[in-house]
C-alpha cells in the first residue's frame, strides 16, 4: 500500500466506519424484527393449531384455548431466544413466519371440517 493510498484510506475511514456501523445496526434491527414479529407469528400458529386440534380431540373449547395459550407463550419465548442463537439468520426468517403460517392453516382446516 502506497503512502497516498494509506492517507486516502485514513481520510475515508470515518465514512467507512459509520457505514459499517449502520450496516451492523440494520443487522441487529432485522434480528429483533424476526425474533419479535416472527416469534409472534409462530406462537399464534401454535395457539390456533393447538386450540383447534385439542378441541377436535374432544377437549372443551376453553380448556383447549387455555392450554394452547400456555404452550404459545412458551413457544414465543423459545422462538425469541432461538432467533438470536441461530447462526444463519435466514433460517429464522423461514422457520418462524413459515411455521406460523402452516400451523394457522392447519387450524383453519380443522375448523372448516368441524364447523
Amino acid at each position: 500500500m502506497s503512502h497516498d493510498e494509506a492517507t486516502a484510506m485514513s481520510r475515508a475511514s470515518p465514512a467507512i466506519a459509520s457505514a459499517t456501523g449502520r450496516r451492523r445496526g440494520l443487522r441487529f434491527a432485522s434480528r429483533v424484527l424476526v425474533a419479535v414479529l416472527g416469534g409472534y407469528a409462530f406462537a399464534w400458529g401454535v395457539v390456533a393449531a393447538g386450540t383447534a386440534l385439542m378441541y377436535a380431540a374432544g377437549m372443551g373449547f376453553h380448556d383447549a384455548e387455555f392450554l394452547s395459550s400456555l404452550l404459545g407463550v412458551l413457544a414465543l419465548l423459545v422462538a425469541l431466544l432461538w432467533a438470536f442463537a441461530v447462526r444463519r439468520e435466514w433460517l429464522a426468517w423461514v422457520v418462524l413466519p413459515g411455521g406460523g403460517t402452516v400451523l394457522a392453516g392447519v387450524a383453519s382446516l380443522v375448523q372448516a371440517l368441524l364447523a
Binding site: 383447534a52 378441541y55 372443551g60 384455548e65 407463550v73 419465548l77 438470536f84 380443522v110 368441524l114
Partner: protein
C-alpha cells in the same frame, strides 16, 4: 454477528432488559402496591374507612340500588357508533345486573347492562355501574379516584395507555422480555460464576451491584417467572392470542351453542315477561350447598341474567378466600321460580390448572403473610431491574467518560427517573389526594396529573443533574430524590392525620389495619430512603475530601 450462544444470550439480556426494563420496573412496583390496592383505596377515600362487609340482602339493599342505576350520558355517547339508528330515549330492559365484592371490600360495586334494541352485535349491552355502602344501600360518590384498585392496579398491566390497548401490549412484550431475561440470565450466570472467584478490588462497587442483581434475580426466580407467565396467560385469550374471537370464531360459536344446550343456561331472552322469585332464598340455598361440600361460604359475585324475562336466571358465585385457585363454584337458579338449574361441575384438570395459575396471580385468598410475601417478591423484582440499570451504567461510565460519549449519562438519568422518580410519583398522587379540596371538580384528573407531573419533574431533575456521570462520577440526583422521597412519604402520613384525624395511635388502637398499614409503609419508605440518601452523601463526601485535604497542587494523584 455473535461469537457464540453465550454472547447472543448476553446481548438479548442486556439490550432487551435495558429498553423494556423501564416498563418492567412499573409492572413490578405497581404490581407490588396492587397487592394492597383495596387498602390504599381506603386510605385515599376516607368516607369508606369501615369494616369489609358480606354481600347484603337482595331485597333489602341490592334491588333498590340496582333499580336506581341508569347509564351515564358519556356511556350512551360511547355506545352510539355501535348502534344502527338513534339511541333509545330510555333504558328499561335490563340484560344483566351484578354485584361484586371481596373479603377486603367495605364498599360494594354494582354493574348493570342494558339491552339496546338496534345494537349492531346482538348481546352488546350498554354498561353502567355504581358503588354503594352495603350496610344501608346508600349510594357513594363514584367520582373519587380509587388510587389503589383504580389507578396503581391498571397501571401495572396497562400503563393507563388505553388507546387500542397499547399499554397492555407494551406490558405484555415486557413480560415476555422478563421471561427471556431470566432464561438468558441463567445462561450468563454460569459464565459469571467463574468470575466471582476473580478478585477485582478496583471494581468492588460493580461487584456488589452485580451480587445484588443476581441475588434478587435468583432467590425470587420462581416468583418472577410465574408472575410474568401468569400475567401473560390472564390476558392471552382476550388480547395477545384472541384466536377464539378472530381466526377460530366459528369454532368458538359452535362450542357456545353446544354449551348452552348442555348447561341449560339460556343464551338469549325468551321475549316473554316473567317475575322474580326470592333471590335471598336462592343465595341461602347456594351457601347451604357449599357448606355441605366443606367450602367457605361467602358470596363473591351475584349475577342476574335476562332480568324480567322468562329465560332469566340467577348465578351465585363463591368468593374463593380459602384457596389459591381462583374458583367460582357457581350455582344457577331459574329467576322466575327459584328452582335449581345446575351446579357447576367439578373442574377438569386443565380448568384446575387455569384456576391455580390465575389465582396465584390475582390473590383472592385470605392469608396476610402470603400477601406480604407477594409484596416482597414484587419489590425484589424491582430491585433486580434497578440494579441491572446501575450495573449497566457503572460498567460503562468511566469508558464513556474517556471517549466523551453520553450513553451512560442518559441511561443513568432514565434509571433515576425509573427508580426514585417512580416512588416519588406514587407519593405525589397520595399527597395530592390529601391536599386537593374535597369538592374540587374533576378531582380524579388532578390526582392523575399530580402523579405524571411528579414523575416528569423527577425525570427533568435527573437529566439536569446528570453532568457528573459524563465524567465518570455519580449523579447527585440519586441522593437528592431519595431525600425527597423521605420528605414526601412523611408528609403523606402527616397529611392523612391532619385531614382525617386518623393518626397512627388511633388507627392502630382501633385495629384499622388498611389505614395504619399504608401509614406504616409510608414511614418505612421514608426511613429506607433517608438511610439511602445519608449513605450516598457520605460516599460523595469521601470521594470529594482527599482532593480538598491535599489542596490544589497534586492534581495528577
Amino acid at each position: 454477528m455473535f461469537q457464540g450462544f453465550r454472547q447472543a444470550m448476553a446481548w438479548v439480556h442486556t439490550w432487551f432488559g435495558l429498553v423494556l426494563g423501564f416498563v418492567l420496573m412499573a409492572a413490578f412496583f405497581f404490581g407490588a402496591l396492587s397487592v394492597f390496592d383495596r387498602e390504599i383505596d381506603r386510605w385515599a377515600i376516607p368516607a369508606t374507612r369501615f369494616e369489609p362487609q358480606p354481600m347484603p340482602s337482595f331485597d333489602a339493599v341490592l334491588r333498590p340500588a340496582f333499580e336506581r342505576i341508569q347509564p351515564t350520558p358519556e356511556a350512551i355517547e360511547a355506545m352510539r357508533p355501535r348502534v344502527d339508528g338513534p339511541m333509545p330515549a330510555q333504558y328499561d330492559t335490563v340484560g344483566t345486573w351484578s354485584a361484586y365484592t371481596t373479603h377486603r371490600d367495605p364498599v360494594l360495586q354494582l354493574f348493570a347492562g342494558f339491552v339496546v334494541p338496534n345494537a349492531r352485535h346482538a348481546g352488546d349491552l350498554l354498561w353502567a355501574d355504581a358503588t354503594i355502602d352495603p350496610r344501608d344501600g346508600r349510594p357513594l360518590p363514584d367520582d373519587r379516584l380509587k388510587v389503589g384498585s383504580g389507578f396503581f392496579f391498571p397501571l401495572h398491566y396497562g400503563l393507563t395507555l388505553d388507546w387500542r390497548n397499547l399499554g397492555i401490549w407494551i406490558v405484555g412484550l415486557s413480560a415476555l422480555v422478563m421471561l427471556a431475561a431470566l432464561a438468558t440470565g441463567v445462561v450468563m450466570h454460569r459464565h459469571l460464576f467463574r468470575e466471582f472467584f476473580t478478585f477485582r478490588p478496583d471494581r468492588a462497587r460493580l461487584r456488589s451491584v452485580l451480587d445484588l442483581h443476581n441475588l434478587t434475580g435468583v432467590v425470587a426466580l420462581p416468583f418472577h417467572f410465574f408472575f410474568a407467565l401468569t400475567g401473560l396467560l390472564i390476558f392471552a385469550a382476550t388480547y395477545y392470542f384472541p384466536v377464539g374471537h378472530t381466526q377460530l370464531h366459528e369454532l368458538h360459536d359452535l362450542n357456545a351453542r353446544l354449551e348452552a344446550g348442555r348447561t341449560g343456561l339460556p343464551h338469549e331472552r325468551a321475549g316473554v315477561a316473567a317475575g322474580l322469585a326470592d333471590v335471598d332464598a336462592m343465595v341461602a340455598d347456594a351457601r347451604r350447598r357449599w357448606a355441605e361440600d366443606g367450602k367457605a361460604g361467602d358470596v363473591g359475585f351475584l349475577v342476574l341474567q335476562h332480568v324480567g324475562d322468562a329465560n332469566g336466571y340467577v348465578s351465585v358465585y363463591r368468593a374463593g378466600t380459602d384457596r389459591i385457585a381462583l374458583v367460582g363454584d357457581g350455582i344457577h337458579y331459574r329467576a322466575a321460580t327459584g328452582e335449581l338449574i345446575r351446579e357447576d361441575p367439578a373442574p377438569t384438570p386443565v380448568e384446575r390448572m387455569a384456576q391455580f395459575l390465575t389465582g396465584l396471580h390475582l390473590q383472592h385468598f385470605r392469608h396476610w403473610l402470603l400477601r406480604w410475601l407477594y409484596v416482597l417478591g414484587g419489590l425484589a423484582g424491582a430491585v433486580c431491574i434497578a440494579t441491572g440499570f446501575v450495573f449497566f451504567v457503572e460498567k460503562r461510565k468511566r469508558q464513556h467518560a474517556r471517549q466523551g460519549r453520553q450513553g451512560a449519562r442518559v441511561v443513568d438519568a432514565l434509571a433515576v427517573a425509573a427508580v426514585t422518580g417512580m416512588v416519588l410519583a406514587a407519593l405525589g398522587i397520595l399527597v395530592a389526594n390529601r391536599l386537593l379540596p374535597e369538592d374540587l371538580p374533576a378531582r380524579a384528573t388532578w390526582e392523575r396529573c399530580a402523579f405524571w407531573g411528579t414523575w416528569m419533574a423527577a425525570l427533568l431533575h435527573a437529566a439536569w443533574r446528570s453532568a457528573p456521570v459524563a465524567q465518570g462520577l455519580p449523579n447527585p440526583a440519586w441522593r437528592e430524590q431519595a431525600t425527597a422521597i423521605a420528605v414526601l412519604a412523611v408528609s403523606a402520613a402527616v397529611l392523612n392525620w391532619i385531614t382525617t384525624g386518623d393518626h397512627l395511635l388511633r388507627t392502630l388502637g382501633a385495629g384499622n389495619w388498611p389505614v395504619a398499614g399504608v401509614d406504616l409503609a409510608l414511614l418505612a419508605t421514608a426511613a429506607i430512603a433517608a438511610a439511602g440518601a445519608w449513605r450516598l452523601r457520605r460516599r460523595a463526601r469521601a470521594v470529594a475530601t482527599p482532593r480538598h485535604a491535599v489542596g490544589p497542587e497534586p492534581r495528577h494523584a
